[in-house]
Amino acid sequence: MVHKYKFRDTNFVIDGNSGAIHIVDDISYDILDCLDGNFFDYTENYIVKKLADKYSKEKIKEAYGEIFKIYESGKLFSSDTHENLATEENLNSPVKALCLNVAHDCNMQCKYCFASKGDFGCGRELMSLETAKKAIDFVVQNSGSIRNLEIDFFGGEPLMNFEVVKEAVKYARSLEKEYDKNFRFTITTNGILLDDDKIDFINKEMFDIVLSLDGRREINDKYRVTRGGVGTYDVVVPRFQKLVAKRGNKNYYVRGTYAKDNIKFSDDVLHIYDLGFKHISMEPALCGDKFESSITEECLDEVLKEQENLCNKLIDMNLSGRDVDFFNFSIDINEGPCILKRLKGCGCGNDYVAVTPNGDIYSCHQVVGEEKFKMGNINSGTFDKKRKKPFLNTTIYHKEKCRECWAKFYCSGGCTAKNYFNCGSIMDPYDLACRMQKKKIECAVAYQFYINQNY
């Protein structure tokens, strides 16, 4: 569980089990190469002989001594002592977060949409206020002692059912005091229907927002089009700019998708920044056969290079005073989430579920329409808690491929839906996503090091 890599001119070493991150000189890096991840399989004399052509005996012994000291402190070649936390009692959580699909309809027709152009293959439908209220009651009743409850207004396009969004927020707020809950609302929107009233409401009530834009006009308008096939860049960019200008310091992300035609997605990230947006996220279209420009195995080398390229550009920008927050590189290397969260993963089908306009409850928004992941219905008052069990058992310790991976406490086992759609099982990590995730982690660690230390 020791992982090492080079970024720029720095040698990074991550001790996966303890979370310790070290930078080491070349001689230590070469010693770690010789040790091949198994500290006690090789003697100091073996290392001295192996590296005799490159370094003096004294220097090798000196560096080896330091590696041993770090090992003794529990920050290198450390053992994994967390598996005992993965008990059903610890893993089983109250439901505290809803993806509320208020509109299974969309005024756009994005080429890579996983939701079958907004209706998830279930037919166009808007959620009634009655169903939205029942969903809010459901999360209040099923959240136990957890105080912070999350509702993400999602779709389709949630602004197509904005009256229900507004009334649902009002209703949830009316319950906060009585039940000692704190609702955090988020919304994910394509921006087409944004106007001044909606902007003001969103900025007042939404804890976080996700604004969808893929970057440069020619890229965005290739994929993000109206139902009539017209590009949306010119319509949504000024609206997003207006919203963000009025938002103050509250959270938001402009979130893009990249595909084969813009593998050099750093240009799109920088374009979004130049439009005045500091908080940016960009994810690959991993749609398999469903989308002709989906990122596939053959793109991998180029994608990995581009992640590194983007990281380099963002480091330089930050060091020159251009403040940018790229979500994937935004990690806290000193603390971050607790160990239980790291081993549990995303919480889908456990503390997080999705609710459709007709009240069906699914383990997450990406599997809506998949009968096997349906857990109940809000309107009929059914919720089969037994259906949580398979999702409790998706921890890094339940997945063979994750158990011995250095990145397991950073990625937490990958996206369950992605694993299912690409590998046929929620237990089988999607290799392509794994490899991209590992690169993201390497870049994120390097990014944090450079912008915070300025070595």
């Binding site: 000196e62 529990g74 993806c99 999350e150 979500f327 603390e335 989430p337 607790c338 239980l340 549990k344």
Partner: protein, 48 residues
């Protein structure tokens, strides 16, 4: 030390929240929405 410098304070074994309070944001409610991004989450107890 001359050869190795530890650059962070993380120690998962001393994770301050132990078995988890569950108050922090669910990962798919944040900027990604289509991927598991647990590492990008903030601990509710450590928020300033």
């Amino acid at each position: 030390m001359e050869h190795i410098k530890t650059i962070n304070k993380a120690d998962f074994k001393k994770s301050i929240t132990g078995t988890g309070c569950g108050e922090c944001q669910v990962s798919c409610q944040t900027a990604s929405k289509v991927d598991n991004t647990v590492i990008n989450q903030k601990c509710e107890k450590s928020k300033k």
